[in-house]
């Protein structure tokens, strides 16, 4: 059995977001890149399952759509423990484009389970997983917070309001995972880091496809208004300000 984890190369979540002058893109200068946190947890769970499978899961692969600058992020996934990797050599223009490219790249690879994060921390589109399943002609389960093997069956916990439901999807399938899928991401070990360069990283040229969407403009949120301090003794002034200025009472 083989597992594929789709990883997205995203800016570090602590990055201060700046826009380009024409506001149609994020200024990517001096940005630190990381594995999308949801994808990193998916990878962690895949590796846990492989380790506990007593040889049943033979391989965990990762795939990403990106140009060469995404390779350090892909190699980090290899350092964490993935066995091999694919990089589709193209800029991931939108979810449709990325899903199409990944489906094209791995259609003949016969992965039994494909994992991806429910969203990516850069554009938070939440569209990729469903599209990938459609292109692969696989069933998909979203909001997956846990999955494990029960004999030959995979049992998937799917989060729903107030609880979760248990689904038994037919293999192969796409699991679109929530953050609870693994406790915390793995830190690569020194040995893993040294081994990463020796693991296969196959570069696949992009298939002909166009993006379905484009970014027209970004607007940063309004800066937080200054905090007005009111003397605790002066309740009347506070009420007056809440009523006339903040207009919330």
């Amino acid at each position: 059995m083989k597992i594929l984890v789709c990883i997205s190369n995203v800016p570090d979540t602590t990055t201060k977001i700046k826009l380009t002058a024409d506001k149609t893109a994020i200024d990517l200068a001096n940005v630190q890149w990381i594995i999308n946190p949801w994808d990193e947890l998916a990878l962690t769970r895949a590796l846990e399952l492989k380790e506990a499978s007593a040889g049943k899961i033979t391989k965990v692969s990762v795939i990403s759509v990106g140009n060469q600058s995404a390779e350090p992020t892909i190699r980090k996934a290899l350092a964490i423990g993935a066995d091999d990797a694919f990089r589709v050599n193209a800029e991931a223009k939108d979810a449709y484009f990325a899903a199409f490219q990944i489906a094209e790249a791995v259609k003949t690879e016969a992965y039994d389970i494909i994992l991806c994060g429910i969203e990516s921390s850069d554009y938070n589109g939440s569209a990729f997983g469903g599209m990938l399943a459609e292109f692969m002609d696989h069933p998909s389960v979203s909001s997956v917070s846990n999955f494990e093997f029960a004999g030959e069956v995979v049992k998937v916990n799917r989060e729903i309001p107030g609880g979760y439901e248990v689904v038994e999807p037919a293999l192969p399938f796409v699991a679109i995972v929530q953050k609870g899928i693994a406790k915390e991401p793995r830190i690569p070990s020194m040995r893993g880091i040294m081994m990463a360069r020796q693991k296969p990283l196959k570069v696949v040229e992009a298939a002909p496809a166009e993006a379905m969407t484009e970014f027209v403009a970004f607007e940063p949120p309004q800066p937080k208004a200054a905090c007005k301090m009111v003397d605790p003794a002066n309740v009347a002034e506070l009420v007056e300000l809440l009523h006339k200025e903040a207009k919330i009472i």
């Binding site: 190699r75 020194m190 040995r191």
Partner: protein, 379 residues
């Protein structure tokens, strides 16, 4: 010239940073209770930081000194106690055996040291031989096929957690430091006693003890290097150890600087943020420059070591400057925090206590100046 790190070095630094984040949760409590970070050291070894410099042939990471000091800095930024446990184990314990050990010694000790199953300690200081390391009173009498070791060692990091002791002892007192040997002593050899835990000012989560040797029989095969080369081995070990202690000092300073920077952007006084007061902004600027200087000295020393060039002078400069700067920077970080800096919750008072030790151990700042001045005067 190239100031870029390799992809692996960046990944190692990030891995150390991710590991160090977990130390923050209990660092204040462990410092207060002087509690050894057992679980954290276990994870440190699982990640391979405990044998990261050792040749992969013995199970180590085979990494360069630059990667190592990047990791030490990241860990020291949060918890200098964990950094010193790691530093002594790697720079003095593992390195000593790898650099000077026989193949049999390396095969016997290194595989267990890289997994953290056995932690290394370095036993040089004595009650009356600190900076004056040539006056070793601990005796290793040559009894034919073994050494009979008697004496006391002081200020031993990893003394209770460790089990592979590199002991520096005098065999031929008449030859002074040319008569000193370095021996590998297993802690469980009969006659080895660990003294009480030292109640230290800082780095309280690392275990420091005195160690007593009473008629300890150490087989000849446990001697590191040639007969009478012990002092040379000790000095060479400290030469490398200094680089990582300098990096630890940079980490402590960086930790204090980051906390002071954050605080000065949050706290207001006289109607504006602390950072908007020039007196505070200038302090931050001075801290920043000193840290950059110290880090560059450390990196140069590490680079020299990796490129098999002499690094004694560079290491001494890095250690002296980084340690003294860390003391100044942590003191200023407390000052910027005002009263809050003087209580434990804000971390900077702990960093200040930790910085103090970097000026003392593995060669005081004064000893570094002796090393530096001797070299420049000789030139």
């Amino acid at each position: 010239m190239n100031f870029d790190f390799t992809e692996e070095q960046i990944m190692i630094k990030q891995a150390a940073r991710d590991f160090a984040k977990k130390l923050e949760a209990d660092v204040i409590e462990r410092d207060y209770k002087a509690e050894y970070p057992t679980q954290h050291i276990k994870e440190l070894s699982n990640l391979g930081f405990l044998g990261m410099l050792v040749n992969p042939k013995y199970g180590g990471g085979g990494m360069d000194t630059i990667s190592y000091i990047l990791a030490v800095e990241e860990i020291a930024k949060i918890d200098a106690s964990v950094a010193v446990i790691m530093s002594v184990h790697n720079s003095l314990g593992c390195w000593g055996i790898e650099a000077y050990g026989t193949e049999a010694q390396k095969e016997k000790y290194l595989p267990q040291m890289v997994t953290g199953e056995k932690i290394g300690a370095f036993l040089l200081s004595e009650p009356e031989a600190g900076s004056d390391a040539t006056s070793q009173k601990t005796l290793a009498e040559d009894k034919g096929d073994y050494y009979l070791v008697n004496g006391t060692k002081n200020w031993i990091t990893n003394a209770s957690s460790g089990s592979v002791f590199l002991v520096i002892a005098q065999t031929y007192p008449e030859l002074q430091h040319h008569g000193i040997n370095a021996l590998i002593v297993d802690k469980d050899m009969p006659g080895v006693t660990i003294g009480p835990h030292e109640d230290k000012m800082g780095m309280r989560s690392s275990d420091t003890h005195s160690v007593m040797f009473n008629d300890v029989i150490v087989p000849k095969e446990n001697r590191l290097g040639g007969d009478g080369f012990g002092f040379k081995i000790a000095m060479k070990g400290l030469e490398g150890g200094r680089i990582s202690i300098a990096s630890q000092a940079v980490g402590i300073a960086q930790g204090a600087y980051e906390r002071a920077l954050q605080y000065s952007k949050e706290r207001k006084a006289f109607g504006k943020l602390l950072a908007e007061h020039q007196s505070v902004a200038f302090k931050l600027a001075e801290m920043y420059v000193k840290i950059e200087n110290a880090r560059n000295l450390v990196l140069k020393a590490a680079w020299l070591k990796d490129n098999h060039k002499p690094y004694g002078l560079a290491g001494a400069m890095a250690k002296q400057y980084a340690a003294d700067s860390a003391m100044e920077i942590t003191t200023e970080a407390v000052q910027i925090h005002g009263g809050y800096g003087y209580v434990k919750e804000y971390h900077v008072e702990r960093l200040m206590r930790e910085a103090k030790l970097t000026q003392i151990y593995e060669g005081t700042s004064e000893i570094q100046k002796i090393v530096i001045s001797r070299q420049i005067l000789r030139a």
